[in-house]
Symmetry: C2
Subunit: 350 residues, 2 copies
Amino acid sequence: MKNNNYGVIMAGGIGSRFWPMSTPEKPKQFLDILGLGKTLLQMTFERLEKVSLTENIYIVTNEKYKNLVKQQLPQIREEQILCEPQRKNTAPCIAYAASKIYSLNKEAVLVVSPSDHLIVKEDLFTKNIETAIKQSINNRIVTLGIQPTRPDTGYGYIEFNNKEENEVQEVKQFREKPTLELAKEFVAAGNFYWNSGIFIWKASTILSSLKEFTPELYNLFSIDNGFYNTISEQEKINLCFEKCEDISIDYAVMEQAKNVDVVLATFDWSDLGTWGSLYEHIPMDENKNAIVGKNVHLFNSKNCLINVPQNKKVLIEGLENYIVVEADDVLMILSMKNEQELKNYLKKIE
Amino acid sequence: MKNNNYGVIMAGGIGSRFWPMSTPEKPKQFLDILGLGKTLLQMTFERLEKVSLTENIYIVTNEKYKNLVKQQLPQIREEQILCEPQRKNTAPCIAYAASKIYSLNKEAVLVVSPSDHLIVKEDLFTKNIETAIKQSINNRIVTLGIQPTRPDTGYGYIEFNNKEENEVQEVKQFREKPTLELAKEFVAAGNFYWNSGIFIWKASTILSSLKEFTPELYNLFSIDNGFYNTISEQEKINLCFEKCEDISIDYAVMEQAKNVDVVLATFDWSDLGTWGSLYEHIPMDENKNAIVGKNVHLFNSKNCLINVPQNKKVLIEGLENYIVVEADDVLMILSMKNEQELKNYLKKIE
């Protein structure tokens, strides 16, 4: 059974919000951003190894990150790295991986996952995924929903028919990023979960859906073209990416399909979308300072997030509510309350 | 005339208040702390070259800094570097240099200067020194006094008989570091100047004074011992330093001598004793941020002192009244108001 399970890790993002640690040359998923001794990609890979064989886990990434993937996952074969020549959002990425894997195994079940999220309580993750895999066998499109802890306006929400208290629920509709007002209503209602971006489906199921809702995309990547697992695969794929539209899987399929279920996740999850979100996941000292770095000394300081290279000697005094990050040859000192402006500051200095 | 003028640069200090740029391995005088492209030692040397020949300028330093001096002043001969085997304050340092130079030239006039001060308007410095040299010919001990700009309790004060408005004044007495109350009185009185630690005297004059007030020290270093400019000089000097007391020239001579004059300095001066004092000497942007570093970008920030390596990319947002310094592999972020506690913080982390 496990032999039919495949992992598909989407690792092509550029993670601009984690500057200066995350750069276009080495984005967030390739970093040990929490100081755990493993990168987010490596942690994602290990999670999927619990539900599929090592040789069945594929990484889809930009071709310029191929060597980073090889370095960080030396246990995989080169064929397990699928290279996108350009960024075209999640639907082309999934069409490519699903088609390729389907051409290898018609019974394949895919667990599609972002590469740069944090998941704590991995045993619960495994359990949720096993439930989702079972559910997917009946040609269901399955997603993992995260119980919202705040009325966040940065996520899409999944509304489900909460008929019984089941781990699996039938999806009523996908709701795009809401206003704060609406987000508050969603959280209060109880049957709105965050869209985690983790999907479980048979390769045949998602290919059918792509054929139904985005036939052009489907045809471009179809196994009928006969190039998968041949010497010309990369060349053909490069052409597909040149021609295909830039479209998310949510928009292409999830919002239109009728056969969608959500598994209500029981693990702890963060998309680590900002430095602030990271702050919640690093152990804190008694003054609520979250520190990554082994030689960091704080005095009269609180509510700070410090992330510096392990052996960097740091003395900080009298600092409150700041993010201090050093990476490569860049230093950032940013007030937490203005973190959302980071992108704008970066534009100005580059 | 210039051939009888000698420079004596005291460069043995350890500059702990400028951590992390200044370290025991490379103290303040060996740093380009202002980002001018020259170290404080090099700037001091160049100032003295205006009043004495290059080959007449001697550097007294700890033996562990000998190579730093050689690197930074490649134009001098090795004999111009006098090595102290241990730190014994200024009187032994001066006794050594004065004796050695006197053994070479009985007419020598010495300009003794710390190596780690900042002097702006160097032409005025030259003029003041020339006045002091003239004055010293009549066996006077001459010091440079700095007009106080605030009631600083960290300096000694020189009280003088302000009979006429002369550039040179006869010293009434030296006053040790005062209380704030007393310092305010001194500043208001007008005839109290800061002791700059720059002294001008004939070698014969200061040696006579040492003989009179500290005969033991004088005898230890006396040229009658016959070791100067021989192969055994360093070995003998090491013994002298082992035996001699730890005593400042102020205490040993200045406070007791009757033949002391002060030249009222007209140049701008700072002893760069703290990061805060440095702040006043770096050009500021419109938000009163003083920045050393060519790739530093500040937003919503004011009254900050930033000192980082030239090519370090830095983004700082929302910071007010802080000192941010990066040097070697150390980062310091310190609130300006607590700068005087830096020594204590360093003790705790070392």
